[in-house]
């Protein structure tokens, strides 16, 4: 009995530790985005990443049988597209000269740590809120209230990568120029 209780406790501790590490992964990613370390942030993504931004207003247009892919996104990137977007953010967009400042405030993180995708890699579902504050010289502060619905891949060595991110902007509009990553 004691051995069973001990095993259960160990399992609970492991899940708790995994949830903590997944949460830290979100915080680390937010910091990379705010520091405009785009290439580093991209290196934390899997090569089959799906990065999508929707507004709640557009998701409300979904009909029966539709998936998120059937609704007009504001951003829809695979790895190649993210790579090109990162290049544009880093170099030649007028929209990033001067560069905007952002603050990604990540909160309300929830981790589902029971699922396993394969023996080598595990993918965990993680949800969070992210309130993105965006400011720029000569412009007013803009705030985007976002939900993250993420899938994070954890390798056998414990390293983590973002395998998918659905950003739902809980709003009707996205004003201005989205020359950064939510």
């Amino acid at each position: 009995m004691a051995a069973v209780q001990s095993a259960l406790q160990s399992e609970a501790n492991a899940r708790s530790e995994m949830a903590r590490r997944l949460t830290d992964f979100l915080f680390d990613g937010a910091r990379l985005l705010d520091d405009r370390r785009w290439a580093e942030w991209l290196s934390t993504c899997t090569h089959d990443i799906d990065y999508t931004v929707h507004t709640r207003a557009n998701l409300n247009l979904m009909r029966e049988g539709d998936t998120f892919d059937d609704v007009l996104p504001y951003v829809k990137c695979d790895y190649r597209a993210l790579e090109l977007r990162v290049q544009m953010l880093t170099r030649e967009w007028h929209a990033v000269d001067p560069a905007p400042w952002t603050l990604h405030v990540v909160s309300n993180v929830r981790c589902w740590v029971d699922g396993k995708a394969s023996a080598e890699k595990e993918r965990y579902r993680v949800e969070a809120l992210c309130i993105v504050h965006r400011n720029r010289i000569g412009e007013d502060l803009v705030i985007f209230p976002c939900r993250y619905e993420d899938e994070i891949e954890v390798a056998a060595d414990g390293s983590m990568k973002l395998a998918s991110r659905l950003v739902i902007v809980e709003a009707e509009r996205i004003d201005g120029a989205l020359a950064y990553l939510l």
Partner: protein
């Protein structure tokens, strides 16, 4: 600038007076002399596919409902309860047999008629429900492409007359015989005057500079214009050209090698040519097939320095589900507040508006003047917008 100081000369064939973009009094004059008088784009039939479907939008600052009844007639009604003014619906769209005002529960049918009033016995014999239906916008009309226009002017000319020669370009741009469904919207505000958005439709001159990032990407993918432009022959509309049309419409058309994805160099389609159309229908409709994505933009002036743009994703009904999904990705990559082109333009409009605060009277729009005009990077097509604008405001 006081109205007594307004000069009737706001546009020559080389320059436009900057007050046109920054004077709040002129903005109000536009409401009175343009937006209340002409046909204004308000929606697409692809949003009203079933009897009872409705959408809400804004016409010259006024909230309206576009509502399809059981007999397929489409009406434009002011979204204002005839009792005390409350919007009878706050939703962007829906499907209803009736709408009930939240304030006192007055109920209106799809034809706008007042169906019911709670505690009606409190009204005397002069109370006439038949005269208290939702007020109809005087005119509504739809093109064969499904574009819905409304006018506050009961005496406005027929829509086809207003569209004039632009109709042929619209026919070419929206030529899928199976029609279109609206698959979503990019809805955003830019902090610039609405005419900055409208004139931008035929400003090919800015592509290589403002859009230099994605111009390079397109060229690297093997895309771009199929031929170097020779100056169009006066009076001939062939090849790649821009044109200003009677009525204030301004349009460009060109042939290019298509790129299937803006953001994926591997997804190019070598050698596949297509002809694209981009321009504006006076005063508030932008049409655009760029990026292999037919779309329209409803340009809604909010105030002199703020414009809301609603981009409609128009998916041909002939598309398979996979083609539809590919279209949606292309549209997101090209346009809207996060698109490779959209980011540039949306970031630039407020910079123009701020620069226009300087006490400088005129903006130069003379590119192509004296040279024949008509090249994609000339500025002669947008003259049609300024001429019509000036004519309607000042005669």
């Amino acid at each position: 600038m006081g109205s007594s100081e307004l000069s009737p000369k706001f546009f020559t064939n080389r320059a436009v007076r900057r007050d046109a973009y920054r004077d709040p009094e002129l903005f109000e004059l536009e409401r009175d002399r343009i937006f209340s008088k002409v046909w204004v784009f308000v929606g697409h039939m692809g949003e009203l596919t079933q009897p009872g479907d409705y959408k809400t939008t804004v016409l010259n600052g006024a909230p309206i409902i576009i509502w399809r009844d059981a007999g397929d007639e489409v009406r434009a009604l002011y979204n204002s309860c005839t009792h005390r003014g409350t919007k009878v619906t706050r939703r962007p769209r829906g499907n209803e047999k009736y709408l009930r005002c939240s304030y006192h529960a007055w109920t209106f049918g799809r034809d706008g008629s007042l169906l019911g009033v709670p505690d009606a016995e409190a009204y005397d014999e002069t109370f006439d429900k038949e005269k208290l239906g939702l007020v109809a916008v005087p005119r509504i009309a739809t093109t064969k492409h499904g574009l819905i226009f409304a006018s506050q002017n009961a005496n406005v000319e027929p829509l086809e007359q207003h569209l004039g020669e632009a109709l042929a370009y619209m026919d070419a741009a929206f030529n899928d015989p199976t029609g279109y469904t609206v698959a979503g919207y990019h809805d955003y505000r830019v902090y610039g005057n609405w005419k900055l958005v409208t004139e931008n439709s035929t400003d090919g001159y800015h592509v290589q500079s403002l859009h230099r990032m994605n111009a390079k990407a397109v060229q690297a993918q093997g895309g771009g214009l199929t031929e170097q432009q020779a100056r169009p022959v006066a009076g001939e509309r062939t090849g790649n050209y821009q044109v200003g049309l009677a009525g204030g419409h301004n349009l460009m058309t060109w042939e290019s090698v298509v790129t299937e994805r803006m953001m994926d160099p591997a997804a190019q389609t070598h050698g596949k040519r297509r002809r694209d159309y981009l321009g504006s229908i006076f005063p508030n409709l932008a049409i655009n097939t760029n990026g292999n994505c037919p779309k329209v933009r409803q340009i809604i002036p909010i105030d002199v320095a703020c414009t809301e743009i609603i981009q409609y994703a128009l998916i041909p009904n002939s598309y398979t589900r996979e083609e539809r999904r590919a279209y949606l990705i292309r549209l997101a990559e090209y346009s809207g507040p996060a698109g490779a082109n959209g980011v540039d333009d949306n970031d630039n409009f407020p910079q123009v508006q701020k620069g226009l605060r300087a006490p400088i009277d005129w903006s130069d729009v003379s590119r192509g003047v004296g040279k024949g005009g008509g090249l994609l990077n000339d500025e002669t097509a947008m003259h049609a917008l300024f001429e019509e604008w000036q004519r309607r405001l000042f005669g």
